[in-house]
């Protein structure tokens, strides 16, 4: 695929995902807005994928990329693990009547 087509493809996905996001999130009731925020926050830790690719790109490459990747893995993992766990903790407190 030529570079421009790749960009257009990625951009298409970007725009469509924003629409999907708006459609779903507007249906989340106010009761769940805090867990929504912490859960969405955990999902934004997806940047860990890029962090892993940087941290593990090999001894041949630039060591600076490895170190930056390592720091990014730490922060992103914190975000992912902490985010999903605390969301789970909050959601399990929501109980039905009786």
């Amino acid at each position: 695929m030529d570079p421009l087509s790749l960009f257009i493809l990625l951009f298409t996905i970007f725009v469509l995902a924003i629409f999907v996001g708006f459609e779903i999130i507007t249906k989340v009731p106010p009761t769940l807005h805090t867990p929504l925020m912490s859960g969405a926050n955990a999902i934004s830790g997806i940047t860990i994928i890029g962090a892993i690719l940087s941290a593990g790109h090999g001894a041949e490459g630039n060591p600076l990329t490895t170190y930056l990747g390592f720091a990014a893995v730490v922060f992103a993992t914190l975000n992912v693990v902490g985010g999903f766990m605390v969301t789970n903790r909050m959601l399990s407190m929501f109980k039905k009547k009786g």
Partner: protein
């Protein structure tokens, strides 16, 4: 693993994120939804680990181990009242992770098969947004904890504008010559300063808006990083989070009756703290405020049919959630219909009050949104206001010159009797008196919310 298989796994992860978020549209399916999201993340991480471009593992394993331990400890130990601080902190970490990844990719150099301009602009945006998210979130964290006060200084907007211009200049330099890495670090420094400056002038009461907006930024930074490494799952997940944060920001602004512009650059609160307010308060309250006691209330609550509890952040500060639920249970056992009316800004972040009440075992069916609760007040025997002030101020509805004019409020004043539990007649964040306290059908129950509720429950049991 085969590149195509990895891409398909990323697609599955993206779908799991979407289905997971969809699960959050109802409390019944929410736990499962969150787990689906976590599964998507796990899948994405596992297939990335077997990617042929990953050659060494020691740094990855070390990073994941440290992040997992710290993240888990924070998630397990955090108090529910401190949730806004934790979410702010996590937003910042997500943002800086994206900025670091973009920096690492710039160091590697422009990859082939990608338009150079896509790579460089995306890296620049990721660095800018990521760094702003980090320092902005740390400022919000400090403000929510009360460690950092508000700082206003002359020429504030001009200074911000200059720093923002410096950021744009750095991005332009990166786009023109991606090998000149120094400009990326200059960008990180300038953007970090921008994040501090952007949040330092915003009042503590506006932090729900700031945290929501930074939540959105952390998503947008991840999406920008997706364009840097041409990765679809980053773009999808980042856009979802970006959209989510924007929606929550808009909801918060609407609930506070402010535009986003006004929150970010405004001076609301400065002009209402003057001396005229005190005189206004005397005029409104003089001779009209009626006090009540636990015994008197116990007698009054005997025989009512419906009660609407209106909690504000003061309730959480006093740690009175459990005692309030006890009161509600006691009244329910006597056939009273007890519900809770929750204003969108009742807590310190969107939906915060609901979490605090859920922690105290209040069933979620009893928690009513503002639009559901308001038509019910005229048929409600007793509205019990606990630690809320500005969000129940009828001036928002009646006085177009009031600083909170037009702000959506809970119409407690329309209930047959209003009981207000409060330490004193002191004003709320808006700094204005509340005529609700002086209404004919209002009774003030002065004191600490928790102690008052304990006394009231005891008096009811004796009665």
């Amino acid at each position: 693993m085969n590149d195509a298989l990895i891409k398909i796994a990323y697609l599955v992860a993206s779908v799991l994120f979407i289905v997971g978020l969809k699960g959050l549209t109802h409390p019944r399916t929410a736990v499962r939804g969150n787990r689906l999201g976590a599964m998507g993340m796990f899948l994405a991480i596992v297939v990335t680990l077997v990617d042929q471009n990953v050659l060494t593992y020691q740094w990855i394993v070390a990073g994941i181990a440290i992040g997992t331990i710290v993240g888990a400890v924070l998630a397990i130990r955090i108090q529910m009242t401190a949730m806004p601080e934790l979410v702010a902190l996590f937003n910042g970490f997500g943002g800086v992770a994206s900025a670091l990844v973009a920096g690492g990719e710039l160091v590697k150099g422009v990859p082939s098969g990608v338009p150079a301009i896509q790579f460089t602009i995306a890296a620049g945006l990721s660095g800018l947004i990521g760094a702003v998210t980090l320092t902005g979130s740390l400022m919000a964290f400090g403000k929510l904890r009360g460690d950092i006060g508000d700082a206003k200084y002359p020429g504030e907007q001009l200074v911000k504008l200059l720093v923002a211009a410096a950021c744009v200049f750095c991005i332009v330099m990166i786009v023109m010559d991606p090998t000149n890495i120094m400009f990326y670090w200059y960008l990180m420094i300038a953007a970090s300063i921008l994040g501090i400056l952007a949040v330092i002038g915003i009042g503590g009461a506006d932090m729900p808006v700031v945290v929501s907006l930074l939540n959105s930024y952390s998503g947008i930074a991840a999406a920008a990083t997706g364009f840097v490494i041409s990765n679809i799952v980053l773009i999808v997940a980042g856009s979802l989070v970006g959209a989510s944060g924007i929606i929550l920001t808009m909801i918060m602004c609407k609930a506070m009756n402010r535009s986003l512009r006004n929150v970010l650059f405004g001076t609301w609160g400065d002009d209402v703290a003057g001396g005229g307010v005190v005189a206004g308060a005397d005029e409104i309250y003089a001779g009209k405020v009626k006090q009540t006691s636990a015994d008197e209330l116990a007698m009054m609550l005997d025989g009512i049919q419906s009660m609407m509890i209106v909690p504000g952040y003061g309730l959480a500060v006093a740690q009175a959630q459990h005692t309030v639920r006890e009161l509600a249970d006691l009244l329910k056992s006597r056939g009273v219909d007890v519900k809770y009316a929750i204003h969108p800004v009742a807590g310190r972040m969107p939906g915060h009050m609901n979490v605090l009440l859920a922690e105290a075992d209040v069933p979620y069916d009893d928690l009513l949104e503002m639009d559901t609760a308001n038509p019910m007040f005229p048929q409600t025997d007793v509205a019990l206001v606990l630690g809320a002030n500005d969000v129940v101020n009828p001036m928002a509805r009646e006085d177009p010159t009031s600083p909170i004019a037009g702000m959506p409020i809970l119409d407690c004043d329309k209930a047959r009797t209003v009981i207000i539990v409060k330490r004193s007649l002191s004003p709320g964040f808006a700094g204005i008196p509340n005529p609700l306290f002086a209404l004919d059908n209002s009774l003030m129950f002065f004191g600490d919310a928790k102690q008052n509720m304990i006394d009231l429950v005891a008096a009811l049991k004796e009665n």
